[in-house]
């Protein structure tokens, strides 16, 4: 008589990651990170006085004014964050109540995040608009603008770090409960941000000649990708050893349901393809299609990194569950054993 095999309780196909935060939160984390990283790198470029080639449209005539678009590619990060922030509100049960969180900034990281993002978006957009508007009374080259720029830079760094801190603050998921997660998201934000700047200046002829500034930016971006890879490795290896559920999360990410997202989305799209394509592109200085493809792949990789880490979050096990697990395995063992006995008696 055949007895049905009982799957063990801790089986990779039966791991239960959290289902509360899904793609909407991943989009929010991604856009907030990329936008903040882009603004951070862009401000540094601006401070260093590097002259990038202008985008497709260097100026725009509107209502009799000439808008200066030359700095838009390096300051467009706040627009991304402003697009991403509503995704967090979209995920709320009652959308209009997000104001309650803004009014209680000292309560938790979700509330602090609202404040950090709001300040960054407002300051960033002010700086973006300042760089675009042609009015003389704005004194756009004045050193006084350095003050809001420094504040915006700090909040850009805060926004990039916050995306990781938000997950870290929910302490019961071992995969997220580490200082390496905000660092990983920060490095990923900087690499995707610098790539978004490179992409936004593509097609302007910068690769047809020896554009030094862009080469430095490309080099920095490649270094950031390598650092991101190292941090990701450290993150996964540390979490694998941290707790049983951390181990389960890493197994789920590497070999379980999320393996396509991890290997296909994060490793190949996010790391291997961009590095290989950029290496090939270095032999074809005039061909920016390869750089464009590498950029798109890298940006997709950044998104899949957030999706993977969100979906692989498995909660810590409470002692009661552990007790039930032991009981389950004992009872499952009791059920399986008679089958073996029957099988042996039949063979005799």
């Amino acid at each position: 008589m055949a007895t049905e095999n009982i799957p063990p309780m801790r089986n990779i196909r039966h791991l239960r990651p959290q289902k509360e935060w899904k793609e909407i939160i991943a989009i929010y984390l991604y856009l907030a990170g990329m936008g903040a990283g882009s603004f951070f790198i862009g401000t540094l470029i601006s401070w260093l006085g590097v002259k990038l080639d202008p985008p497709f449209l260097s100026s725009l005539h509107l209502f009799g004014y000439t808008l200066n678009l030359s700095k838009v590619p390096i300051f467009w990060g706040p627009i991304m964050v402003a697009i991403g922030a509503p995704f967090l509100i979209l995920d709320l049960g009652i959308k209009w109540r997000f104001m309650y969180a803004c009014l209680n900034p000292r309560t938790s990281w979700v509330a602090r995040g609202f404040i950090i993002l709001s300040i960054f978006i407002v300051l960033g957009l002010v700086l973006l608009i300042k760089s675009v508007l042609p009015f003389g009374w704005l004194h756009s080259e004045s050193t006084l603008w350095r003050i809001p720029e420094v504040i915006a830079l700090v909040f850009a760094l805060g926004t990039a770090l916050y995306t990781g801190i938000l997950l870290k603050a929910t302490k019961s998921v071992p995969l997220w409960n580490t200082h390496l997660l905000p660092i990983l998201f920060l490095v990923s934000a900087l690499s995707t941000g610098s790539m978004s700047i490179i992409l936004s200046t593509l097609g302007t002829g910068v690769f047809s000649h020896d554009a030094g500034a862009l080469k430095v930016l490309m080099g920095a971006e490649q270094v950031l990708v390598v650092i991101e890879g190292i941090v990701l490795y450290l993150f996964l290896s540390r979490r694998y050893r941290a707790a049983e559920q951390g181990k389960d999360s890493v197994r789920l990410l590497l070999f379980g349901e999320m393996k396509m997202i991890f290997w296909g989305g994060v490793v190949f799209l996010g790391f291997i393809f961009p590095v290989v394509l950029e290496y090939i592109a270095s032999f074809f200085p005039g061909n920016f299609v390869l750089i464009f493809a590498a950029g798109i792949f890298l940006l997709c990789g950044g998104f899949f990194l957030r999706v993977g880490i969100l979906h692989a979050g498995i909660k810590d096990q409470i002692p009661m569950h552990r007790l039930m697990e032991i009981q389950y395995n004992m009872m499952a063992g009791r059920k399986v054993n008679p089958r073996i006995t029957v099988h042996e008696s039949q063979s005799h």
């Binding site: 935060w21 309650y100 938790s108 929910t170 998921v173 909660k315 810590d316 389950y328 059920k335």
Partner: protein
């Protein structure tokens, strides 16, 4: 005032889910177990049932992560942790933070809900026929276990009795 807590004896639970039913009726007016404030986790193949009720932890993660203080402690009502439905924004951070998987998202009301001891008269305790859930004073929670251990000790010392 003596503080009382819910005590679950998972050995007694038969998985009938009557507690879920009465909980949803009391809190929502509908007999819909998916809207109950406690859940029975079942392993039917081996006959294990685990009623998961809120533990109202002393160091409650749900209170720590709530962005609006909707999730708060009420020392005057059995020191319970409860969620103010009028303040909850439905961000579900508390659900992720709770290691016991307790607060639940009510799809109809679009907010997070949790056990509030039914304002001092838990319906799950009232309707559980086999008394798998009881509402006891804090200092009496371990009495049953102590009694069992004492009986075992007596049996081992004096097997004839």
């Amino acid at each position: 005032m003596d503080q009382k807590v819910l005590v679950v004896d998972q050995q007694k639970c038969t998985g009938c889910r009557l507690c879920e039913l009465v909980c949803s009726v009391f809190h929502t007016g509908t007999s819909n177990p998916s809207r109950a404030r406690l859940k029975i986790v079942k392993w039917e193949d081996v006959g294990l049932y685990l009623p998961m009720a809120c533990n109202h932890c002393e160091k409650a993660y749900c209170v720590e992560v709530c962005p609006t203080k909707a999730c708060h402690r009420e020392p005057e009502s059995n020191n319970r942790v409860t969620i103010d439905k009028n303040l909850c924004i439905g961000c579900r951070t508390c659900i992720i933070a709770c290691p016991f998987g307790h607060p639940f998202f009510d799809i109809q009301e679009r907010v997070t809900v949790k056990c509030d001891y039914c304002d001092g008269d838990p319906q799950c305790v009232r309707f559980c026929d086999i008394k798998a859930i009881s509402f006891l004073d804090v200092d009496k929670t371990n009495v049953a276990k102590k009694r069992e251990a004492a009986l075992k000790l007596r049996a081992s010392i004096n097997p004839s009795r």
